[in-house]
């Protein structure tokens, strides 16, 4: 069963008076529990596709269905609510709230959701910080952390609401290869442990290798889709 269904989606941007097509008639289905990588060169449309799936942008044509909801039919408020409860975001440049501590950054989506006691929130946040290996920095501000540590905080923030889907836009682009590898391992572990669906974009072949499925985009079109797990299984046989 698909958690994300992209159907004949196109997205055009206006550059002055010129129409620049970012995506052209893209269709894609992502099943629950997948660890899907979107690969392609810069400007190929990876981020645009993630933005549309993440409901932070709207398509020029076509439909985007997330968790069974046609996003075109949702109000701005309902889209925000969908993002809050169903989707977790990991950004290339972390985008943590600089004036909050690590703990508070991770706790923030839970506060936006409401409904949990202080104790419940604290337990969930501390467990996640522990899981991403950053519990000892809970009181630190983001500016006091390294890039890899900040991205771990971002992962914890994305997962704290237990979303069905996590979107990561080039999560390792600002990290050295070793740290990047650790981050992907961490995401993979969360995918395995909780069954959370991950869709991440990258143009790093080492990162792509960790994915269960790989979608290649070129010039705004899906060039290929490979089931890497199946290939691994076949290779192992």
């Amino acid at each position: 069963m698909s958690i994300v269904s992209v159907e004949h989606v196109s997205k055009d941007y206006m550059l002055g008076k010129t129409v620049v097509p970012a995506l052209r008639d893209v269709s894609l289905a992502v099943g629950k529990g997948e660890f899907l990588s979107i690969a392609g060169p810069s400007g190929s449309g990876k981020t645009t596709l993630l933005n549309l799936v993440g409901c932070v942008d709207t398509p020029t044509a076509g439909r985007v269905i997330v968790a069974g909801q046609d996003t075109a039919r949702l109000s701005e408020r309902a889209l925000t609510e969908l993002r809050l409860r169903t989707i977790g975001f990991i950004f290339q440049s972390f985008n943590l709230v600089s004036v909050l501590s690590v703990f508070q950054n991770v706790e923030f989506p839970l506060l936006l959701q409401g409904g949990q006691t202080r104790k419940e929130r604290a337990e969930r946040v501390l467990a996640l910080l522990d899981a991403v290996g950053i519990a000892e920095h809970a009181r630190h501000r983001p500016s006091e952390l390294s890039g890899g540590q900040r991205q771990r905080v971002a992962i914890a923030r994305a997962l704290v609401t237990r979303p069905a889907l996590v979107l990561a836009d080039e999560p390792t682009a600002n990290l050295d290869s070793e740290t990047g590898g650790n981050i992907i391992d961490l995401m993979k572990e969360m995918n395995r442990r909780d069954g959370t669906t991950f869709i991440f974009s990258t143009h790093d072949p080492k990162v792509m290798a960790h994915a269960s499925a790989l979608v290649r985009i070129e010039d705004g079109r899906i060039a290929s889709r490979e089931d890497l797990d199946a290939a691994r299984l076949a290779g192992g046989r």
Binding site: E81, L84, N95, V99
Partner: protein, 435 residues
């Protein structure tokens, strides 16, 4: 959640210390100025009303004019005991009543002369007289003796007289002839602002003699109420009651009696007795206008300064929003609603507004307290203008709180427009903002 919101707002303010100190400082300066100007005006108004309601007017007055011919007028209430009886019966709110003669006369000393507005008083029945007047020479009790006058320092200086010197008062009687009386200076009191420039007090019977009046005639009945705010209601009731009792009562007009005596009443076509019921505000109309004008000037000044502060807030928030656009985009992406973004920016400005106005109030209280404690004497010309001898700020907690809250509210309102702009940013646009 409010705790985290406040933390974000507070830390964002602290992140740009210099910028926010400048803006908060400007807000504090405007607040301090508004509070101090308000306190100075209130101090003047209080001093003026306190001295006026003792020296010139009650909270409510039943005065009147007697006209032998239509072109003449004298400030008289004839058969006042009967009027007083009606007044007492219809005003249960009254605290105490005084009866005073009214008139004006030319005071002539050996060296010089000047016009004086005279009040004929019976000091034994004037309970607040002593509280307002500070006798610097002579004895207030001596004013109970016939043929005595109390002058203020400025008048005594101008007439070049001291206690026990004799003045000649010359005044026109109701019958249109001039009468004179020699009066001894019984006491000289410290100036109490503008009123003491032209008001003087003589013993009540002496005033009657000067004007050739009977003992049943007086100038006005002053009513002092337990709550001065009741004055307009009591005045309206008295007009009706006196009219029902058969007196001719003048239409209410917010003018001091001496202006009516000089201008309005002589031009009216009637003769005989008419009663005139006024409030302290009516009698002090011109002073009130002066205070109002002062408040308008103060208000304009504050509005101009607030425009500067509002522009500062708009600029500061525009910069803050530009700096935090990516953060706003990320927060919107992770599920923050638009109204929450709006709230965070408004809260930040509200916090700055409250801190700024709070600091301004603290500065104003310190300055006002220090000035009041120092008892800074004002030059005489300024004394007349400000209606007080020493620079005095009257601090009214309610007015100060209102000033501070209004200024903080203006700051918050100024923040709404840029905050709305921040809230309306599309997450995708905000996240990819470069700047």
């Amino acid at each position: 959640m409010i705790g985290v919101d406040l933390m974000i707002a507070g830390r964002n303010l602290a992140r740009h210390t210099r910028r926010n100190l400048f803006l908060g400082g400007a807000l504090a300066a405007v607040t301090a100025l508004l509070v101090l100007l308000g306190a100075l005006t209130a101090g003047m108004e209080s001093a003026m009303m306190q001295s006026a309601t003792t020296l010139m007017t009650g909270h409510v007055n039943v005065g009147g004019f007697f006209k032998i011919t239509s072109g003449s007028a004298a400030p008289l209430v004839s058969q006042y005991p009967r009027v007083l009886e009606t007044v007492r019966a219809r005003v249960p709110e009254v605290d105490y009543v005084t009866v005073r003669g009214r008139g004006w006369a030319k005071a002539v000393s050996e060296h010089v002369s000047m016009d004086l507005v005279l009040a004929g008083v019976d000091v034994a029945h004037e309970p607040t007289f002593r509280k307002v007047l500070h006798v610097v020479e002579g004895d207030l009790e001596a004013l109970s003796q016939p043929g005595t006058v109390l002058l203020f320092e400025g008048q005594a200086e101008r007439l070049k007289v001291k206690v026990n010197d004799v003045l000649t008062l010359s005044a026109p009687t109701a019958r249109g002839v001039n009468n004179t009386a020699d009066v001894r200076v019984a006491a000289i009191a410290r100036n109490v602002g503008l009123l003491s420039a032209f008001s003087a007090f003589i013993q009540a019977d002496t005033l009657r003699q000067l004007y050739g009046l009977s003992p049943a005639t007086t100038g006005a009945i002053h009513l002092y109420l337990r709550d001065p705010k009741d004055a307009p209601r009591v005045a309206a009731r008295l007009r009706t009651a006196l009219a029902e009792a058969g007196y001719r009562v003048m239409e209410p007009e917010a003018q001091p009696y001496w202006m009516k005596l000089m201008q309005t009443v002589p031009s009216e076509d009637w003769t005989g007795q008419k009663l005139d019921v006024t409030t302290a505000d009516d009698e002090m109309g011109q002073f009130k206008q002066f205070i109002l004008a002062l408040r308008v000037v103060t208000g304009l000044l504050v509005v101009i300064l607030m425009v500067v502060v509002v522009i500062g807030i708009l600029n500061t928030l525009a910069i803050a929003i530009r700096e935090r656009t990516r953060e706003i985009g990320a927060l919107r992406a992770i599920g923050m609603q638009r109204r929450k973004v709006l709230w965070l920016f408004v809260l930040e400005t509200a916090l700055l507004g409250l801190l700024g106005t709070g600091a301004g109030v603290a500065v104003a209280l310190a300055v006002a307290g220090a000035v009041n404690a120092a008892g800074i004497a004002l030059p005489e010309a300024v004394q007349v203008f400000l209606a007080q001898e020493r620079l005095r700020f009257l601090l009214d907690p309610g007015a100060i709180a209102t000033d501070a809250l209004v200024l903080a509210a203006v700051a918050v309102l100024a923040a709404v427009f840029p905050a709305r702009r921040a809230a309306r940013l599309k997450p995708v646009t905000a996240m990819h903002h470069v700047g």
